[in-house]
């Protein structure tokens, strides 16, 4: 069986998710019904001998791109190479093999296709001491329904940093599987959602810390207007025999309308004692005392609000190295 056939087979086996499905509880699953009509394309999906985990895959968003694209875009980044990659056209499946000590910055784009579904999958295999920086800062309307699935495997000393500034309108679900396979690997996830209209923005993140001395960090900020709904499910799985694994997660939201909503589900699965994990979640309006303080210094209410929103947004990306990705994001803030 080809990769594509296997993926289609698994997709049929899983079926279209219902709202009672744990991993889709916040998603408007009524929008998924058309997925019934998907059929596999004749294609040439490859994996450079890597395991794409199809037989055990539980997420249909990881499978659809494998039977809906015509071929895999494959790229190997050589040892010690530094690359900044930005796709020119929509590619449903891409696979990157990043060799020792190489460093890659990759921009995830939204492509306005004619189809009502946009499904994309990226697989990254990071060798030792590599750096991957993945970022997205899309604006405007996304397709009716969009899936992005990103899967990253990290070897010893590899780091993956994912930075997102989300402003697109539509219904979409980004899922991430980050597997820290060896020690001293780390994952840093920073996301700012700045959303309006009827946008349904869903994030489903799984970080597997399968080795000692690994680190993961999630910081998510939401500024929501109108009828937007953000769902964030961030799960950290720390395997047995993994001392000195650290993880933290913080989600702060400011809601500017009564009809906007955030759904947050932190999951911690820890199978070892000597680990440190924290998570937190705040939701509210702009702080009244701070607004008063600014105004009491002569600054008008609107400007005061703008200042606070600006600093709230900027704090999402605080303390990071000024990389290519960060510069692109700050430009759009």
């Amino acid at each position: 069986m080809s990769i594509s056939e296997k993926a289609y087979h698994q997709f049929l086996k899983l079926g279209i998710p219902k709202s009672r499905n744990d991993a889709w509880i916040y998603f408007p699953t009524s929008k998924l019904q058309n997925l019934n009509t998907l059929t596999p394309l004749q294609n040439n999906i490859e994996a450079l001998g890597f395991d794409l985990g199809i037989e055990t895959e539980k997420n249909i968003a990881a499978l659809i791109p494998l039977f809906q694209s015509d071929k895999t875009f494959v790229k190997t980044i050589d040892k010690d190479e530094i690359a900044i990659l930005k796709p020119k056209t929509a590619i449903a499946h891409s696979l990157f093999h990043i060799q020792n000590k190489a460093s890659v910055s990759f921009e995830l784009l939204n492509f306005q296709g004619s189809s009502s579904l946009q499904a994309e999958r990226l697989d990254f295999f990071l060798e030792e001491d590599t750096k991957l920086e993945l970022f997205f800062a899309p604006e405007g309307l996304s397709s009716e329904l969009a899936f992005k699935h990103i899967r990253v495997f990290a070897k010893a000393g590899a780091s993956v940093q994912i930075l997102g500034l989300q402003k697109s309108i539509g219904t979409y679900r980004y899922s991430f599987d980050v597997i820290l396979e060896e020690s001293k690997s780390l994952a840093n996830f920073r996301l700012l959602n700045l959303l309006n209209k009827n946008t349904e923005a869903h994030y489903y993140l799984n970080i597997y810390q399968n080795a000692p001395d690994t680190w993961s960090h999630q910081l998510v900020k939401n500024i929501l207007y109108d009828k937007t709904h953000v769902a964030y499910e961030g799960a950290v799985h720390i395997a047995p025999n993994c001392p000195q694994a650290n993880s933290d997660q913080l989600i702060n939201s400011i809601l500017f309308s009564d009809e906007s909503k955030v759904s947050i589900k932190p999951v911690l699965k820890i199978y070892h004692d000597d680990v440190s994990c924290t998570h937190g979640n705040t939701c509210g309006e702009l702080d009244k005392d701070t607004l008063y303080y600014l105004q009491a210094r002569g600054i008008d209410l609107n400007t005061s609000k703008k200042i606070l929103i600006q600093s709230f947004m900027a704090s999402t990306f605080e303390g990071l190295e000024k990389t290519h990705a960060l510069k692109q994001i700050l430009k759009k803030l």
Binding site: Q295, R297, G298, F312
Partner: protein, 249 residues
Amino acid sequence: MLSIQNLHAALEDGTPILKGIDLQVRPGEIHAIMGPNGSGKSTLLKAISGHPAYQITEGAVILEGENLLDLEINQRANKGLFVGMQYPIEIPGVNNLEFLRLALDSKRSFLGLGPIQEDEFLKLIETHTQNLEMDPHYIERGVNEGFSGGEKKRNEILQMAILDPKVSCLDETDSGLDIDALRIVARGINNLMTPSKAVILVTHYQRLLDYVKPDFVHVLRNGKIVKSGSADLALTLEKQGYDWLEEAQ
């Protein structure tokens, strides 16, 4: 110049806190307000400056002929009212220098002036940070972000010095200051004073009043001024406490 007339203020749920405050402050005067914890001193300053937690149920606050209660918070400040907070707020991510510039430009715009020139502004900052013996690094950090208690108070005085208000109300600016800082802050207050300005100091201790000599001392108790007197009153209070004063009705 500032006239507080029969001021009543209540919490959002209607609980009265200020129960008829009368206070006349003329140009060139320094007033001290003392009183036990919870008597309403901070509430008085927040209420006249427009803090949203308090509703004014009665009274007026006239600054140079205009009722401040009819104005927005920022307009009151721009007209020349300054309140140095008992607990200055930290605003991470908002740069202190930019904050000061914005505050100053807001006032200038209110007065019909254009934004301050870069070099003039930096000069002003340099002068005042030197007067207050402040480490120039504070100015580059977030507003009060990670500042110690005393540093925050000094930062309030810096804001006051830069904004050059007509009436400065300082809420326990002396608490949390070490002995040297107290002297420096007192000097900052005295430097600001001119015959056309006024200062209201809220304090618990005589030691600030050793450096900044008040013309009047008022005692606030249970939301009312129960006694007013000269500077000597503060000394009496320091010796005898508040218990000899009658409880306000």
